[in-house]
């Protein structure tokens, strides 16, 4: 017995020592198993396909503590390949989760293991980086906790109860179809959102001149976002409640925007909110009335519950304000927040007209815009700039009702300040880069320096150097630019305490400067996080020189070409009018620069004739107003006499087969001037405009050319793919018909 006791005594310190080392070098491995499966969801009354992970949308919240090792087993049970990207995390390049850039796609019915140390803390999230899977369910919160002994632990902030919140949107349309429709300038979404901004609506609002100027400057109607969504979701649902909290409680909401293309306004019915972190990095607390969270950004926000037996609405409104989602914090009767009033689109159009030069460049009128400080969209916000017209209806004696409020404090990047110094090494060499964000709304081309990923090589950088990037947004939309694997400093006037971020929202005409130390080897994606902009090619890759090979991606050269091709797909479009006087139609295949199209007019008899025109063209320049093309025409029409064109050249249209060279140019008012020379020397000049928005659903069109042919048409858009059309054609006469488009 005595002996044994002695042994215990001797052993005890050793045991303690072992325990202690366990705590200090806690190589705790935290494992998650994720099963990715196809599923059917019903958000709107219709069953639709979605992707669920472990049976849920959003994906499960992953929680780690700084110092842990994450081990995530991804079991792909889909019929397609997938991937997972850990948004905002510092990790080895091969764990970053970008298919064809840092790994091969995870094939169906295989398992891939991501394993990396957690060397930071904060609110992050994760999502699929394959195709458009993120839109249909593959997003989830990722919470990295601070250790209690962390010197940056903030009492009163880091010890509050927290709730992970992930925002997203749902659409019943297949996202691939949405992507295609955006590229075909289909305005069905605008009809659904009631944001067509047609001539009829412009006249009604007293903005006819605004609309005219807008089209003169060759702009299509603008919206703050492009896609129509059926639902907006907070943690996968439109309305929910956190009833575990009571009066006086402070709650830290760890909010990530997992939406594919929506910015969200956050407002709280219980008073002001305190922002304490952004993109997973602490910031000095800032008290605000509201903030906008860009696509893929994260914000940590503290709210308080002011009264007993009351729950307070956190209202989440997408930037286009079509709908909203709510979460009630607290228990009891629900105190609502004031909804954000509808946007004044024509005010926005007017502002856009002033900012747009005739050559398609933006001009900032010398305002040096940056850091979200001056939101030009403010002209569209009734809550700040007042209602359109004073409501003259029922209670005229209370005309002050709609008095705008200018006491609303909106968060902007200049207000963010890191609590610790974020300066980079002083002696490191600095590499200066400049990108102009460019875009073409009409053809939905989004690029940097007018180049899509398919047109650029990787940008080589040296490990250890400081990369300082100046971004200028010369496009008409805002872009949330995201850098993989690093946080960058945002130069925002806070000096040594510049905030760290990994997503920078940049508004039209803004210039912002960011910088980061290239301290991690690998190929790092830098792209616009609006999913449909990313898939349109608004991407770059930063690649450190002399990298070790990536075991998950043996053939990097081949893989990069694959990645390039993915973001420059051909988009198909088809349209036919089944009319009483014949069939009119066209089909097109287009990508960023090329267009392959065929048009036809097929009569029902020889006198009306049959004709097709095929054009293969390439769009030139950033605005893509110019398109040289080669063409092939075939016509057959019974005629008594040959016809003369305006230039005195004759041509029978009986069985005419001709090659041509031509050029199409978009004139002000969006009229397309097309000049063609045929192999027999004949020349044809044509003016044409489709889709003149007369009212929300009526579109007019016309065509006139030097062969003395002309056409006028009127189209009523009945649904996404169907319309009614009436037109008069100089060859085929008057007709009415049913239009099908895809």
């Amino acid at each position: 017995m005595v002996n044994q006791k002695n042994i215990y005594k001797k052993l005890l310190p050793i045991v303690f020592l072992l325990l202690a080392t366990q705590v200090v070098f806690a190589q705790k491995v935290v494992r998650y198993d994720l099963y990715i499966k196809d599923t059917i969801v019903n958000f709107t009354g219709k069953n639709k396909r979605a992707i669920a992970v472990n049976g849920q949308i959003p994906m499960p919240t992953l929680t780690f503590t700084e110092g842990d090792t994450a081990e995530i087993h991804v079991h792909n049970r889909l019929k397609e390949s997938t991937s997972l990207h850990w948004h905002g995390l510092y990790l080895p390049n091969k764990e970053d989760g970008v298919p064809y850039l840092t790994q091969m796609p995870i094939k169906p019915n295989t398992t891939h293991i991501y394993r990396f140390p957690i060397i930071q803390n904060g609110t992050h999230w994760y999502h699929s980086h394959s195709g458009l899977q993120e839109q249909i369910g593959m997003y989830g919160s990722m919470i990295l906790l601070k250790r209690a002994d962390d010197p940056t632990f903030r009492k009163g902030i880091d010890d509050l109860p927290t709730v992970p919140i992930i925002l997203s949107e749902w659409t019943d349309y297949n996202p691939d179809n949405i992507h295609r429709m955006l590229h075909n300038a289909n305005d069905w979404f605008a009809i659904k959102k009631n944001t067509v901004q047609s001539y009829g609506e412009a006249i009604k609002a007293g903005h006819f001149k605004t609309k005219l100027t807008n089209e003169w400057k060759r702009m299509l109607a603008m919206d703050v976002s492009d896609v129509y969504y059926d639902k907006f979701l907070i943690n996968g649902t439109s309305e929910s409640q956190l009833s575990q909290f009571k009066a006086g409680d402070k709650v830290r909401l760890r909010i990530s925007n997992g939406g594919a293309s929506s910015y969200f306004w956050l407002t709280y019915a219980g008073g002001k909110m305190t922002v304490v972190a952004n993109d997973g990095n602490d910031v000095e607390p800032v008290v605000v009335d509201r903030l906008i969270i860009g696509v893929s950004e994260t914000y940590d926000v503290i709210v308080t519950i002011p009264a007993e037996n009351t729950s307070y609405e956190l209202l989440v409104t997408p930037e286009d304000r079509t709908k909203s989602a709510s979460i009630y914090i607290g228990s009891g009767i629900k105190q609502l927040a004031s909804p954000l009033p509808k946007l004044k689109y024509f005010e926005g159009m007017k502002m856009m007209n002033d900012m747009m030069k005739m050559n398609g460049d933006m001009k900032d009128m010398g305002m040096n815009m940056s850091l979200q400080q001056m939101d030009m969209n403010t002209v569209m916000y009734p809550e700040i700039t007042g209602e359109n017209k004073p409501k003259s209806s029922q209670h005229s004696d209370h005309s002050n009702h709609t008095m705008p409020s200018n006491d609303i404090v909106t968060l902007n990047y200049a207000m963010l300040k890191s609590p610790t110094k974020t300066t980079l090494s002083e002696n490191a060499p600095v590499r200066e880069l400049r990108f102009e964000l460019t875009g073409n709304m009409n053809r939905y081309v989004w690029s940097m320096d007018n180049r899509v990923l398919a047109e650029t090589d990787k940008i080589l950088i040296k490990k250890g150097e400081i990369v300082r990037i100046t971004l200028y947004n010369n496009s008409m939309m805002r872009h949330p630019m995201h850098l993989h694997g690093h946080d960058f400093r945002v130069i925002n006037g806070q000096g040594d305490y510049a905030p760290l971020k990994n997503v920078l929202d940049i508004m039209p005409m803004e210039t912002n400067v960011i910088e980061f130390e290239a301290n991690l080897e690998g190929d790092w994606f830098f792209h616009c996080h609006i999913l449909y902009h990313m898939m349109a090619g608004m991407n770059r890759v930063f690649s450190t020189e002399n990298q070790a090979p990536n075991p998950y991606l043996p053939n990097k050269k081949w893989a990069y070409r694959k990645l390039q091709r993915e973001s420059n797909e051909l988009h198909f479009m088809f349209q036919n009018d089944f009319a009483t006087n014949g069939n009119d139609g066209m089909t097109m295949l287009q990508n960023t620069r090329w267009s392959f199209g065929t048009e036809w007019r097929l009569g029902y008899n020889d006198r009306h004739g049959y004709e097709t025109e095929t054009h293969i063209g390439r769009y030139i320049g950033r605005n893509q107003w110019l398109m040289p093309f080669i063409g092939f025409d075939w016509r057959y029409r019974k005629h008594e006499t040959p016809e003369k064109n305006l230039f005195g050249q004759t041509n029978t249209k009986d069985n005419r087969t001709q090659f041509s060279l031509g050029v199409a140019y978009t004139l002000p008012m969006l009229i397309i001037l097309q000049t063609e020379v045929y192999q027999d020397g004949n020349v044809r000049v044509q003016l044409r405009r489709e889709d003149i928005p007369l009212s929300k659903r009526f579109r007019a069109s016309f065509m006139v050319n030097t062969d003395k042919e002309y056409m006028f048409g009127l189209n009523y858009i009945a649904s996404k793919n169907l319309g009614f059309r009436t037109h008069y054609d100089s060859d085929m006469g008057f007709g009415i018909g049913l239009t099908f488009n895809y």
Binding site: V286, E308, L336, Q373, I384
Partner: protein, 280 residues
């Protein structure tokens, strides 16, 4: 007459399929309330609300496969009317016509909770232990600064009348300063800027034109900044800058809060500007 009423009533009801009827309390006052409540709640063929202004009870008739009591009551609350489930947003309630401003019985008393204010609280707890003597001196200029901030707020609101009134109060405060009670540093700056302070303030008071007021506010703010720098303050003040003001030459102002509220532009560019200095 009765028959037509009856007919129209059945016609109304007949439109709603699988109608479910419930009775709920909705707070309100008068006939105008009734119109607003019913209009907000009704959806053709889906929901029908009939509110009685005497009993404050509403009969909800709706198609449960398409909507719910919660949805109807939420719409009504967003129009300004409390129920047992929802409280209307305060600003919507405040905008109701006077006759409709019913007593909000459900709105319970707010508990006083301290909010997490600016970071100042965390970083500068020591700042409150200033000696009494300095506090006395602060009081000399305190009303000057307070009135300056009030004037700034009036300009943020782009309210020329209010700015003029506030300028008058500032002028009084300036004239009331007893120089001999100022600290040494304050005295030196005071002698330098006093004339200009009075000059600009007088001009702001004389006009109701906000543009002209803002011109003077620019120089006023510069001088006020010098004075404030020399003076000890209990709470921090933020010196802020808007690069666009003053025809692109930029202009500054002082504020008690870190958040930007631009006095040179008001609502349209309210948040244009940055904090260049925190004065403690």
């Amino acid at each position: 007459m009765a028959i037509t009423l009856l007919l129209s009533f059945t016609a109304c009801n007949a439109q709603i399929k699988n109608a479910k009827t419930e009775s709920v309390k909705i707070y309100g006052n008068c006939g105008m309330c009734e119109t607003t409540i019913e209009k907000a709640g009704n959806i053709k063929k889906v929901a029908q609300v009939d509110w009685n202004k005497d009993t404050k009870m509403a009969t909800l008739t709706y198609d449960p496969s398409k909507t719910s009591q919660v949805e109807i009551l939420k719409r009504i609350a967003l129009a300004g009317y409390d129920s047992d489930q929802f409280l209307a947003p305060d600003d919507v309630y405040a905008k109701l016509p006077e006759c409709c401003q019913y007593d909000r019985v459900k709105k319970s008393e707010m508990v006083k909770v301290e909010t997490i204010d600016d970071h100042s609280k965390y970083n500068h707890e020591g700042a409150t232990n200033k000696s009494n003597e300095t506090k006395q001196v602060v009081n000399q200029l305190k009303s000057v600064f307070e009135n300056y901030f009030a004037l700034k707020d009036a300009l943020v609101k782009s309210d020329g009348n209010l700015a003029s009134a506030k300028a008058k109060e500032l002028l009084n405060a300036l004239n009331a300063v007893q120089m001999n009670k100022l600290s040494n540093e304050e005295h030196i700056v005071w002698m330098k800027v006093m004339k200009d302070l009075v000059f600009d303030t007088e001009h702001i008071e004389e006009t109701k034109d906000v543009g002209h007021q803002r011109d003077h506010f620019n120089t006023l703010s510069d001088n006020m900044y010098q004075l404030l720098k020399a003076s000890k303050q209990e709470t921090p003040t933020y010196y802020q800058h808007c690069p666009m003001a003053n025809n692109g030459k930029g202009a500054n102002w002082l504020s008690k809060e870190n958040a930007i509220k631009n006095p040179y532009y008001g609502s349209q560019m309210l948040s244009c500007g940055i904090t260049v200095e925190k004065i403690e």
